[in-house]
């Protein structure tokens, strides 16, 4: 498989892979903070949220590749999927900023 094709295929799932890892990480941090009574629990969660959104923004705004018909089409689908992942990250992880952490 050519490098460009491999990148196109990976970028199709890149955004949502980061989203999934972020989901598990935030859920884990929320549980750990409650279990061990972290004094800076919300700050840690908001920091993680910020980092995740920043990482999700990278594939969402990565320039399209167009070396070959297949990778060009895949890249467009990947861009849309990655922007959806960014939107999903912003929305789904937003509750860390305002909901009660352990109640």
């Amino acid at each position: 498989m050519r490098q460009g094709d491999k990148i196109a295929l990976i970028s199709l799932v890149a955004g949502f892979t980061v989203w999934s890892v972020g989901f598990v990480a935030l859920y884990g941090l929320q549980a750990l903070g409650c279990a061990y009574g972290w004094p800076t629990h919300r700050a840690v969660l908001i920091l993680a949220y910020g980092i995740l959104v920043a990482v999700l923004a990278v594939p969402a705004f990565w320039p399209l590749r167009s070396d070959g018909e297949a990778s060009a089409t895949l890249s467009v689908a990947a861009l849309w999927a990655n922007r959806a992942a960014l939107g999903a990250g912003v929305l789904v992880f937003l509750p860390v900023t305002f909901t009660s952490t352990c109640v």
Binding site: M1, R2, D5, K6, A8, L9, L12, V13, F16, T17, W19, S20, F23, L26, Y27, Q30, A31, L32, C34, A35, Y36, L45, G68, E69, A70, S71, T73, L74, V76, A77, A78, W80, A81, A84, A85, A88, L91, V92, F93, L94, P95, V96, T99, S100, T101, C102, V103
Partner: protein, 835 residues
């Protein structure tokens, strides 16, 4: 080697059929052909659908009137549990598998799936596992704790019989077929396509199948792990879910719903793929938004894994976590809506013609959209709190599952049955059957929204007559029987089609996908020659292409060396990579499935002394599988037609076997990650850890075991590298065998010398992790030994390096699991317990 001579289409058919066909009589048991097995899967799934439907009739008869004495509560519990189990595990998933197995090779331009014997093994496991469950029902020992088997109800003290064991072992047995099918479907889509069919030229249904199989690869392992842990608790008193000994029932719920919610989308996505294929045919235009649909189904696949806790909103999870899952649950409606708008747009911008499949498409739109709306309602925590465990949820799940799977399946049935039978529908019964199903379904389940809002809880076997539920339940029951009459008419319609339907030429619907380029019913080899695809594969002319392919104008338009040959391509571009030689018919899958079944039956009937024998028998039979495969000398590139040549799969570095091994390890890694998650979850969340007893781990022995596994992993990698570099792999493989045997013994001994694992979940988790690592080291040694055997027989060379590659992958994985396991044990052994 020169290309075989061109022969007439009739002679080509006879020569290919002699190689590929399934013999009559007892020889049918040896079939590994995708057309035969796909049909068997679908017929068996429809049989289970009929059984599940019969059980639902009993439920509705019981609930038709208040204080009914038709069924005893204990029997009712078995019936509603088995209705869910049969419909989810024995109908919906296998129906998808059967459809994919039958249809995918024909849609992608291949002659079969990547691993025909695995298809057959999966079918037999499905049949035998399903028979265990149905036999248990007939003997009054069926599961009775709900299809989700919540602990502690399903734990030994509260379910002392074998009912729960039947679920745990029967379902795990059946799920072997789901996991093997998922791996096979994924590999087949990525590798076994017609040359020129890049990923973005695939018919859109292949994208749906690809995402679905990926979801199954990741979604089923948590369920399998949960079932193993619960069976270990029931059989050997290891307290993974017992809160009095450091376990937690919520661990079961997490593991179950980590599978259970993606399962809904695993059921829906293939059906949506069928809709995305059928709608353009009847709209007479290509699907709108091909790229947007790809993005939407990728999004749907991932988002569906972020919803599982919406089944657990009432268990006492903090508001922040509830908000994550609530938001994700609502959000998943968006990629679903993208598809629905694409379908509506396709119809609106096309020239729709109305036929029976379209009736069910419209039925789908109505029913599924209502189910989606109530799904968004239930995703909101305050509403969920009110409607939880009520008949509103029963109504919602049926609208989603029947709307999202059964209606599209019926559309697909009417669309593709002519392909299977070679005859067209008679139509006399089709339209009234649809209306009976549509009206009967809505009468049954729409009213359940109201019954639920009026407070009727799920799973009750009777109700008093003064709570206002009487007439709603009676009408639901009447609707249920109307629905059943509709399904009976569909069955009669199918039989009429088989008997009286008119025969037709290729492509009766004027569809533009490749499956209609085969003869109908399809021949055993599917394509006499394999096409070259030059445009999107849902915009071709199958009728014209089919006759050219039958004449041998495509690739591999000849019978060679009595071998079943098809082509593998580059995953993305579809460029030809190599010739895949598929194994021919054999009874090995049947014997292996029987041995596997014997293992599960030994566990079910507590014949623990015999279970290892059955397991060894299964392993031994699996080791026989590669015996007839492979070459003892390098062949070099072979002609494949159209003036091109390609090497055999045995001489290709990244062939389907290597890809399948990688995929299987991803499945395995998901199962192991779920186990590690379970340990950490219990450490952080479960009660009674402040007074947890010591594990008494022998760290010297454990570290020696991990070290041996690491040496085994490195040696296997060196063996593979040596082989591909032209050096002898033997010494490194012998080193792998020795190191992994040492690792198995050391890790097994560490587990054996632990404190009593029935005392506390901390010790039980450590025991499970060590047992897992020891087992993987042992299998690593066996695989290395088997590769040494193949090396000695001349099946391995510098160019034919599949076996050493697989050994390297497995042993590398085994080493990694040992290291990760030791890390978890260190955390559990040393971390302070949380109050």
């Amino acid at each position: 080697m020169t290309e075989p001579a061109v022969v007439s289409p009739v002679r080509l058919h006879k020569e290919l059929d002699a190689i590929w066909r399934t013999p009559p009589g007892w020889g049918r048991l040896s079939s590994v052909n995708h057309t035969v097995l796909g049909k068997r899967f679908m017929v068996l799934a429809l049989t289970f659908f009929a059984i599940g439907g019969l059980l639902s009739m009993l439920i509705r008869a019981q609930l038709a009137t208040p204080e009914s004495g038709f069924l005893e509560p204990a029997l009712y519990n078995q019936i509603f549990t088995m209705h869910g189990v049969v419909m989810m595990f024995l109908f919906a998933i296998p129906m998808f598998e059967g459809f994919a197995i039958y249809m995918l090779p024909k849609m992608l331009g291949a002659r079969d799936m990547a691993f025909p014997r695995l298809t057959a093994y999966g079918f037999w496991c499905y049949l035998f596992g399903g028979m265990i469950l149905i036999a248990a029902l007939l003997f009054g020992a069926a599961p009775n704790g709900g299809w989700f088997m919540y602990t502690p109800l399903s734990s030994r003290p509260y379910s002392p019989g074998i009912n729960a064991d039947v679920w745990l072992l029967g379902i795990t047995f059946v799920e072997i077929s789901a996991v093997t099918a998922a791996i096979e479907i994924l590999v087949s889509i990525l590798k076994l396509r017609a040359p020129g069919m890049s990923l973005t030229r695939m018919p859109i249904i292949a994208w749906y199948m690809l995402v679905t199989s990926g979801m199954m690869v990741l979604g089923f392992p948590p369920l399998i792990l949960g079932s193993i842990l619960l069976e270990l608790e029931r059989a050997f008193n290891l307290p993974f879910f017992d809160p009095t000994r450091g376990g937690d029932p919520l661990l079961w719920q997490h593991l179950f719903w980590l599978f259970g919610h993606p399962e809904v989308y695993i059921i829906f996505l293939p059906a949506a793929g069928a809709l995305s294929t059928i709608i353009p045919v009847f709209a007479q235009r290509p699907i709108l938004g091909y790229r947007a649909i790809i993005a939407a189904i990728v999004a749907l696949g991932f988002l569906s894994f972020g919803l599982w806790v919406h089944h657990m909103f009432m268990v006492g999870i903090p508001h922040m976590a509830l908000a994550f899952f609530s938001a994700a649950s609502a959000l998943v409606a968006i990629p679903t809506a993208v598809q629905i708008f694409a379908w509506i747009g396709t119809l609106a911008s096309g020239r729709p013609r109305w036929d029976i499949p379209m009736l069910y498409v419209i039925g789908f739109f109505v029913v599924f959209v209502i189910g989606g709306m109530t799904g968004v309602m239930l995703a909101m925590v305050p509403f969920n709190t009110q409607a939880h465990d009520s008949y509103f949820v029963v109504a919602h799940l049926h609208y989603v599952l029947v709307g999202g799977f059964v209606f599209p399946m019926l559309a697909a049935l009417y669309h593709w049955l002519p392909h299977i039978t070679g005859r067209q529908s008679v139509y006399r019964l089709s339209v009234p059957a649809f209306w009976l199903i549509f009206i009967g379904f809505n009468m049954t389940f729409f009213l359940m929204h109201l019954t639920g809002l009026m407070g009727m809880p799920r799973r009750i076997s009777s109700y008093p007559s003064n709570w206002g539920w009487d007439w709603l339940n009676l009408l639901s029951s009447v609707g249920g029987f109307v629905l059943t009459i509709g399904f009976a008419m569909v069955l009669a319609d199918i039989l009429m089609q088989l008997r009286f339907g008119e025969r037709f030429g290729r492509d009766p619907w004027k569809a533009q996908t490749l499956e209609w380029a085969t003869a109908t019913p399809p021949p055993s080899y599917a394509f006499a020659s394999i096409p070259h695809i030059e445009s999107r594969a849902d915009q071709i002319d199958p009728a014209a292409l089919g006759s050219r392919l039958a004449g041998g104008e495509g690739y591999l338009g000849f019978a060679r060396a009595n071998r079943q040959e098809t082509l593998a391509v580059d995953m993305v571009t579809g460029a030809v990579e190599h010739v895949v030689v598929l194994p021919r018919r054999t009874l090995l899958p049947l014997w292996t499935a029987l041995a596997t079944g014997a293992f599960f039956l030994c566990l079910l009937f507590r014949l623990y002394a015999l279970a290892p024998l059955a397991l060894l028998g299964t392993l031994g039979l699996f080791l026989l599988w590669p015996g007839s495969l492979g070459e003892t000398a390098d062949q070099g590139p072979l002609p494949i037609g159209r003036g091109q040549s390609a090497p055999l799969d045995a001489e290709a570095s990244n062939n389907v076997t290597v890809l399948a091994s990688r995929t299987a390890l991803v499945t395995n890694a998901t199962l192991y990650s779920s186990l590690l998650f379970g340990g950490l979850f219990l450490l952080v969340v479960a009660p009674n850890w402040s007074s947890a007893p010591e594990t008494a781990v022998s760290w010297a022995m454990l570290l020696a075991g991990v070290g041996a596994a690491a040496v085994g992993g490195v040696a296997a990698l060196v063996g593979d590298r040596n082989n591909s570099g032209g050096r002898a792999p033997g010494p490194a493989l012998w080193m792998t065998v020795a190191a992994q045997i040492a690792a198995m013994v050391l890790l097994g001994a560490t587990a054996f010398l632990l404190a009593d694992p029935t005392q506390h979940a901390r010790i039980a988790i450590v025991f499970a992790v060590l047992a897992y690592c020891a087992l993987h080291a042992g299998i690593g040694a066996v695989l290395s030994g088997a590769t040494l055997f193949r090396l000695a027989r001349g099946h391995v060379s510098q160019n034919r390096g599949t076996a050493p590659r697989i050994v390297a992958l497995w042993n590398g994985f085994a080493a990694a699991t040992a290291v990760a396991g030791a890390a978890l044990i260190a955390v559990l052994d040393t971390a302070g317990a949380v109050a």
